[in-house]
Every structure is written in C-alpha cells, then in structure tokens.
C-alpha cells in the first residue's frame, strides 16, 4: 500500500478518510470508503478501476458536485465548495456538452461570460486556448460542423479558458475511437507540459492511464476504495513509442494486477 497518511504541504488535493454513502431506494450504496490521497502541484494523476469503484464519484467530490458523508478533503487548502466558488478548477465531462446554439468560440466564451471577464479579455482568451488545443480557425464554426474528437478538444479548451490551475477530467476520451484517442492523449500531454496544470484524470483504459500519468491510483468497487497508488518512473517527455518500452509494460502489468486483486477479493 502506497497510500499516504500525512498531509503534504501545498498539496492541490488533500483527502483524509473520505467516505460517501448514497441513500437509494435499494438501501445505502457505499460509493467511497476511507479514501485518502494527496495530489501535488503539477501532478498528472489517473484514477482507474472497474465501473462502480467510485473514481468518478471521487472526482465529483473534488469538484463539490457530491458531498462526502465523512472524512475531510481540501482543494487548494480550502473546502471543495470554497474552491468551486473561487472557480479553482476546470471540469471536463465525458461528453463534450457544447451548446448547439453557440459557435465553438461562443461555447468557450460561456464560462468567461459567467465569470464576468471583459469582452476584450474573452476574445483574447478564446484565441489563446483554441491555439492550445489546435483548433485555431474553428472559432466561428458550430459544434455539429466538428468531429467528435474536435468537439472534445473544444470542451477541454473551454475548461482551460479561465485561470484554474486544476483540471478535472472524467473519461474525456471514453467515447472516442482508439486512433483519435492516441492523438488526443499526445496533445493532452503536450498541453500539460506547456501549462503546468495539475490534472486529475478518470479513465478505464490501462494504456491511457500509464501513458499519461505521473501517478496512477487503482481503485476497486463495493465499497469504492483505493487499492494501489503507483508512482510512474517514466520521464515527463513521452513519445507514443514509450508504450513499447519494458518500463511501460511493467507499470501496465502492475496496474492490471492491482485491478485483478481488487475485483477477486
């Protein structure tokens, strides 16, 4: 067990014994049990596990979309609610969720309008993040004119448009095909390196988790809990070919073992 117990100074996310039980008509569902984890600044942390392991729920707890029933969690040293009110994170959902009645530029502008940025500021930020996700020139297009992968990139741009150092991503590439996903993974790494953001990334793909992360959190279901935390020895510069290296295969193997141990208990 590599689960840390002490609070790391300056951790972006710091969770201690987080419990979450949903009351459903079929009785209580233990979605998270005793989850403790620190995420440091600039980390790229992946959460992997079978469905029902609580990986998305934990991400939603960080985002103040769910409230834990016990335990303590701090985001940037404050409660998730305070962090949300301070617009401390960008959240990328599984579906791009672009508004069909707004252009790509208009969609990216949406959070900026809500947060009260000036028009000039909005325009310059839209241009900047569109370049960041390689969608320059698509500002005036409507979502239906873009492919699924491009739409998801636009939704990432939207999450990057305001000054949040933390990016929470919930299976953002889950609905895309393998080839598009490889390309987006590469782009996401480049973006992470360029912006220095802290990223929490939920996935159910082992290669994706290993390729992207500095740390991989393996979770298992019933009740949702952390079974393993793997610090990746891979360098921060990662060409796609790194996935054929022995180190990569070894980490992937350890993740797979962790997943298997979690489900056969």
């Amino acid at each position: 067990m590599a689960v840390e117990t002490k609070t790391a100074a300056g951790a972006v996310i710091s969770a201690r014994g987080v419990d979450l039980t949903f009351q459903t008509s079929d009785g209580p569902v233990h979605a998270l049990r005793d989850v403790s984890l620190d995420i440091g600044k600039g980390d790229f942390v992946s959460f992997i596990g079978p469905s029902g392991c609580g990986k998305t729920t934990f991400l939603r707890v960080m985002a103040d979309l769910e409230t834990p029933t016990a335990g303590e969690i701090l985001v940037n040293g404050v409660t998730p609610q305070e962090a949300r009110r301070a617009r401390a994170y960008g959240y990328v959902f599984q579906a791009a969720g672009l508004y069909p009645w707004r252009t790509i530029g208009g969609n990216i502008r949406l959070p900026l309008e809500i947060m009260g940025y000036s028009r000039a500021e909005q325009a310059s930020r839209v241009t900047r993040v569109l370049e960041l996700v390689e969608l320059a020139g698509f500002e005036k297009k409507f979502p239906w004119q873009l492919s699924g992968g491009m739409q998801q990139r636009a939704s990432i741009a939207r999450a990057l448009a305001f000054d949040a150092d933390l990016l929470l991503m919930d299976e953002p590439f889950g609905a895309l095909d393998e080839i598009v996903r490889d390309h987006l993974n590469e782009q996401l790494l480049a973006l992470w390196k360029r912006t220095g953001k802290t990223i929490a990334f939920v996935t159910h793909s082992i290669p994706e988790a290993v390729y992207l992360s500095t740390r991989i959190v393996v979770m298992s279901p019933r009740p949702g809990r952390i079974t393993d935390v793997i610090d990746s020895p891979l360098p921060r510069d990662r060409p796609l070919e790194i996935r054929d290296s022995p180190e990569f295969i070894e980490i992937a193997h350890r993740v797979r073992e962790g997943l298997r141990a979690g489900t056969t208990q």
């Binding site: 949300r84 617009r87 579906a95 969720g97 069909p100 009645w101 809500i114 409507f142 239906w144």
Partner: protein, 286 residues
C-alpha cells in the same frame, strides 16, 4: 410537387362528400316545397334545388364560397356586414389573449421550475382549471368583469388567456427542465448564478418546447375568443356571427364564419411554425 396529387385527391374527396351530404340533408325540404307547390321534381332538378336553398341544413361549398366572397371582398372592411371586420374583432382578442396567456404560462413555468413550493402546489390547480368547461365559465367572466367596468376586448382576451396559458405552462416546465444533469453540473462547476443558468442554458434549451406549446396555445386562444363573444349578445366578432346565424337560421353565414375561423387559426399557427423554423435553424436545433 409529388405531394400535390394526394392533397388534391383528399380535397376532391371532401368536396364530393360535402355535395353528396348537402343533397341528402336538404332533399326533404326541397320535396316539401315542391309538394306544396304541387310540382314533381326529377332528379337533376332536385339536386340543383338542394344546392341553392336560402337556409339549407347544410349549405353547399359554392354557396359558402359566394357568401365569403360577398362578405370579405365586396363589403368595405369598416362595414358591420364585412367578415373582415368581424374577423379582426375576434383576432385582436385572440392575439391579446395569446400574449397574456403566454406571459402567464411562462411566469408559472418559471415558478414551478425554480420554486419547490410552487412545484408541489401549482400544477394540480393548473390542470383543474382546464377541466372546467369553458362554456360554463365564460359568461361568468364576462359578467364579473362587466360589473367592475371592463367590457369589450379585455374580457374576451381573458377567456383566451384562460385557455392558452395551459399548454405554455406544461410545455415550458418540460422545456426549462430539458437540460440534462451534466449540463446543470457544468454550470455548477462554473459557479453560475440561477439567473445565468436560466438565461444561458434553460431558456435556449426550452425553445423547441416553447414553439410547440405556442402553436397549441394559439388555436386554443382563438376558440376562447369566439366562445367569449357568444354571451356578449352578438355584437361583433366571429362568435357573434355564429350566434346571429343560428338565431335566424342563416346556415350559410355560420359556415362562412366557421371557415374564416379555421383560416385564421391555420394562418396564425403557420406563422408560428415559420418563426420556429427560422429560430431553431439559427440555433442549430432543427
């Protein structure tokens, strides 16, 4: 243009049935008149007579067409005998009632979506209001409003509003709730206010529902305006024409007023449909 032939076939069939029904319903009167005059009618004479009576049970289409032409085109529109004049009286009440009903329906929908107490309490009353026959409540509305000094356009518009707010409430509650959980969560992650959520997400999402509701409301509104004209003693409006027609057995006048009402409703609904197409196309939702 392929659809022209089936459409014409249906229209043709309606006319054939209409003319046949006119012969069938009006023939007894023709025979009575002939018997009293002591003449016998052969079949062509009988048919011709059933299509040309002054007060037929069922006027033939061309009789209604002549009456329409006469009262729409040949009369000055300021004349009390002009159907355009009466149509305008009814249409103005319809449009005012429709506007009021849309506003009321929208306000109630907002309350239901944003206020838990209203959500639990208002809808049963809204539904109950529509189970009361409008014919029963319309005279009371007219009388009560008259007693407080309101007459003319407004009482009729109130009855239109009474009928037209209902589809708007039902449609807009559904429409304002149409954004999915993910879209609402997304607004929450941006710490959007309720007003921002309404203006930027719920309202645009509800547009397809709004237009569909407005079409139903417009048709209901016209019915309300006509019903509202019945108890006022047949002064003016399509409802008055219907009532006067039935007092004096002027079936041709009744039918031309009915057809005018149908044309008005169809035109108003088509206009909403056109706006709907333009708006939704612009919004990328059609």
């Amino acid at each position: 243009m392929k659809s022209i032939l089936p459409v014409l076939t249906v229209v043709g069939a309606i006319f054939v049935i209409w003319y046949a029904a006119a012969v069938w319903l009006n023939a007894p009167w023709s025979r009575d008149v002939a018997a009293r005059a002591d003449v016998t009618l052969d079949l062509p004479e009988l048919v011709a007579d059933t299509w040309a009576q002054d007060k037929p049970k069922l006027p033939a289409p061309h009789q209604v067409a002549v009456e329409l032409w006469d009262t729409v085109v040949d009369k000055k529109i300021t004349s009390k005998r002009s159907l355009v004049y009466h149509s305008w009286i009814t249409l103005s009440a319809t449009l005012l009632g429709f506007a009021l009903g849309t506003a009321l329906g929208f306000a109630l929908a907002l309350g239901i979506v944003y206020n838990r107490v209203m959500d639990m309490s208002v809808m049963p009353w809204v539904i109950a209001s529509q189970t009361i026959p409008i014919l029963a409540i319309a005279p009371m509305i007219i009388v009560v409003l008259n007693a407080v000094g309101l007459s003319g356009l407004l009482p009729k518009a109130m009855i239109s509003m009474y009928l037209s707010f209902f589809p708007i409430v039902v449609g807009m509650v559904k429409g304002l709730r149409s954004p999915d959980a993910m879209q609402l969560d997304q607004m929450r992650t941006w710490n959007a206010s309720r007003l921002q959520e309404l203006l930027r997400l719920r309202l645009p999402s509800s547009m397809p529902y709004l237009f569909t509701s407005m079409k139903v409301a417009m048709a209901a509104s016209l019915v309300g305006a006509i019903v509202g004209e019945l108890p006022t003693g047949a002064v003016a409006g399509l409802g008055a024409r219907l009532l006067a027609g039935s007092y004096y057995g002027q079936t041709i006048q009744i039918w031309s007023a009915l057809i005018m009402a149908a044309v008005l409703a169809a035109a108003a609904v088509a206009l909403i449909g056109l706006v709907q197409r333009l708006v939704l196309k612009r919004m990328g939702m059609a």
